[in-house]
């Protein structure tokens, strides 16, 4: 069943939804990256909630003119207009009043959404039939998606993607360093607005599939996921698009494979699954990598301290140190150093002495700053320098056992 869904053989509607969700995921992931790097991820929350009054007003206008209230283009147009108004309100609040951006986001979000709900109840009491479709915009409703709807989503998603590709460089510049961008003569404020406009476009396109509450997840989670894997911004954009698209595709397929699995939430949960995997497994930034790094560091400290203790003839009590030294073949089971171990220990003690000389010498100040008790001195000084230091220390001394 799941395989059928993944290979798009579960009927017309499921295929449409899967394709639409994939395209939406890609464009949301790519667009969201800029938002995330600009540290304004939650702006998308305000934008998406602000679409509701527009949807309702568009429905009322459509009905008033005797049209079909559920015409998707009309509804999306309405939602875009009200989201834009919300965006401008938010920008005005942050630029012209003392409110911080988070407060402006929350204010726009709650007020527009509240007003949307008022309109929703007005529509319910208008007595026009077939208003049920409107509540689908809250959480998305993919059942009964038409070819025309899918086409709108595909065209909208592709257009957004194209626009992002065209203005990606200025957007990236603004995201990383707005002051520098301003100094270069870029219109930072307008680029920001363009970025928000693109986010709004994605939101509007995604209303039908995941609904206005969950579209935020598609804009935020894939970029955060992608950020774990790389430090290069263009790779983040590509990976985020990939993660979003894959989540959209898998989520749509999963939701088609069994009853009672709403598409929007499933896509979000799949996306979150990718996020958790990345959080745990990503190289360098992942939790697992951090734990491994910590363990490796701990071992190096224990071995180093153990060797120094051996060299100075002190007894080692720490069980972890003994275990590590034994595994390295430095000590025997009773804690006595082997021949190889004695050599290692002598080397460690000598290195420590060499470091001492380096740190006492003003001429080696830059090198001394690298001292952390673990670094091999050969990695920071040339052989000649070490020989010079050794001459100052004098010949090797016997190791007490």
């Amino acid at each position: 069943m799941l395989w059928d869904a993944l290979s798009l053989q579960l009927g017309y509607n499921a295929t449409l939804v899967a394709i639409g969700a994939t395209l939406l995921g890609v464009s949301a992931g790519v667009t969201g990256t800029f938002l995330f790097l600009r540290k304004r991820a939650l702006v998308s929350d305000a934008i998406s909630h602000a679409t509701l009054p527009g949807v309702c007003l568009a429905f009322m206008v459509l009905v008033a003119f005797g049209g079909d209230g559920r015409n998707l283009i009309g509804l999306l147009l309405g939602s875009a207009i009200s989201a834009w108004v919300g965006l401008l309100c938010m920008n005005w609040l942050t630029r012209h009043t003392r409110l911080a951006e988070d407060a402006a986001i929350g204010a726009v979000l709650s007020v527009f959404f509240g007003f949307g709900i008022v309109l929703l109840t007005v529509i319910q009491t208008m007595g026009v039939g077939r208003q049920a479709g409107l509540e689908g915009f809250l959480l998305g409703s993919t059942a009964g998606m038409l070819w025309a709807d899918a086409l709108i989503i595909a065209v909208g998603g592709a257009a957004t993607l194209g626009l992002v590709m065209i203005i990606r460089r200025p957007m990236m510049l603004v995201a990383f360093d707005p002051e520098y961008a301003a100094a270069r003569g870029l219109p930072v404020h307008r680029i920001d607005l363009a970025m928000m406009g693109l986010v709004m476009a994605v939101t509007v396109v995604g209303l039908k599939i995941v609904g206005l509450i969950l579209i935020v997840a598609l804009l935020i989670i894939p970029p955060v996921t992608a950020r774990f894997w790389t430090n290069r911004s263009d790779y983040v954009v590509v990976l985020s698009g990939l993660a979003g698209g894959l989540a959209g595709y898998l989520g749509a397929a999963l939701s088609a494979s069994a009853p009672n699995l709403p598409t929007g939430p499933i896509i979000v949960l799949v996306s979150f699954g990718f996020f958790v995997l990345s959080l745990l497994l990503a190289p360098t930034r992942g939790v697992l990598a951090a734990i491994l790094r910590h363990v490796r560091f701990q071992r190096r400290v224990h071995i180093r301290q153990g060797l120094l203790a051996l060299a100075q003839g002190q007894k080692i009590y720490e069980p972890l140190t003994i275990r590590l030294l034994r595994r390295a073949g430095v000590v025997r089971a009773d804690g006595v150093a082997t021949e190889a171990g004695k050599a290692c220990a002598a080397k460690a003690l000598r290195d420590e002495k060499r470091w001492e000389v380096v740190r006492a010498d003003q001429a080696h100040e830059a090198t001394a700053a690298l001292y952390d008790g673990l670094r091999d001195i050969e990695t920071v000084l040339t052989r000649d320098q070490i020989a010079e230091i050794d001459r100052r220390i004098g010949g090797p001394q016997g190791v007490a056992t």
């Binding site: 929350g106 979000l109 008022v118 929703l120 509450i213 997840a217 955060v224 949960l269 959080l279």
Partner: protein
């Protein structure tokens, strides 16, 4: 309108709405100043899975397990946001976005998967609440306020939200000085021995309790609006925290009362037949208040000086 109509039908929803608005606006003042205003938004989203899980575990729509579930979900969310922020070194806004959308999605999924069609538990209800239905049927008029038997028929949301309001007020009153100091200057607060971490956590938990209690009565949309709009509007009116809180309470009351009245009677005045959503209207009114304050408030600009000095 006479007392016979007003007391049973409108008094309790009005009181509940007002109490809920104040209970959210009070901690909202501090959250706003600490730039944590969106905590209310996050909490009101994650309440849904908590309630659904509580329902699945107990199998009944009963209040206490559901409130516990909601509070549990709020705590889980706060912990998860913090964990993701620290483990993944992600900015707080994005971490919050990841957590609350995921938990909300999980809530919707659980709701669809479980057989809740027979009971009154759905996403729309969670969003708009049900302020209009909290009527006091046992009341016959103003005299019922003194009638013990009629008082026992009060909707249980009223004492609960009143208790929450008292709790929130007590929290803020008792911890006024540390709260004020740590809100404005966390470093200084630490040097004079205030445990700012615990205090911040306490404030968030208090906000969560207020959110859950209000959510139970009036739905999440009012919760978000009341956490942010009245304090934000009050911020435009003054530079003093005490005055700001007073203004925010006033704004909360005005929003709740006028929102309820407009929703209930406004459509009738302009010739409509039915009332509109009170929760939505209260949020809308609070937004209008904020807009007016943002346009004309004496301290609306960032420098905060009223007029040219």
């Amino acid at each position: 309108m006479s007392g016979e109509e007003f007391v049973p039908l409108s008094l309790t929803p009005l009181l509940i709405g007002t109490f809920a608005a104040i209970a959210c606006a009070l901690p909202g003042n501090f959250l706003l100043l600490r730039k944590q205003a969106l905590i209310g938004d996050a909490i009101s989203h994650v309440v849904l899975p908590g309630i659904v899980v509580a329902f699945l575990l107990t199998g009944a729509i009963s209040t206490w397990p559901m409130m516990l579930g909601a509070a549990g979900a709020a705590i889980v969310a706060v912990v998860m946001i913090e964990a993701i922020r620290r483990l993944g070194q992600i900015e707080p806004g994005a971490a919050m976005g990841v957590v609350f959308t995921t938990m909300f999605a999980a809530g919707v999924l659980l709701l669809e998967q479980s057989d809740t069609s027979a009971v009154h538990l759905d996403v729309e209800h969670a969003l708009y609440g049900n302020l209009e239905s909290l009527i006091w049927l046992d009341a016959t008029g103003w005299a019922s306020l003194l009638d013990v038997q009629a008082l026992t028929g009060l909707p249980p949301e009223l004492p609960r939200i009143a208790l929450t309001l008292i709790g929130v007020s007590l929290f803020i009153w008792l911890l006024w000085r540390p709260l004020k100091i740590s809100t404005f200057d966390e470093g200084f607060a630490r040097t004079i021995g205030i445990r700012t971490g615990a205090l911040g956590m306490g404030l968030v938990i208090m906000a969560a309790i207020a959110a859950v209690a209000a959510f139970d009565a009036v739905g999440s949309i009012i919760v978000i609006a009341m956490f942010i709009c009245p304090p934000a509007a009050a911020r435009m009116m003054t530079n003093r925290l005490e005055t700001q809180i007073a203004w925010s309470v006033l704004f909360a009351i005005v929003s709740a009362v006028s929102g309820y009245v407009l929703a209930g009677y406004g459509p009738l005045w302009i010739g409509g037949a039915d009332a509109v959503s009170a929760a939505g209207m209260i949020a809308t009114v609070s937004g209008v208040i904020l807009a007016v304050a943002a346009a004309f408030g004496p301290c609306r600009t960032r420098a905060g000086t009223p007029g040219p000095a």
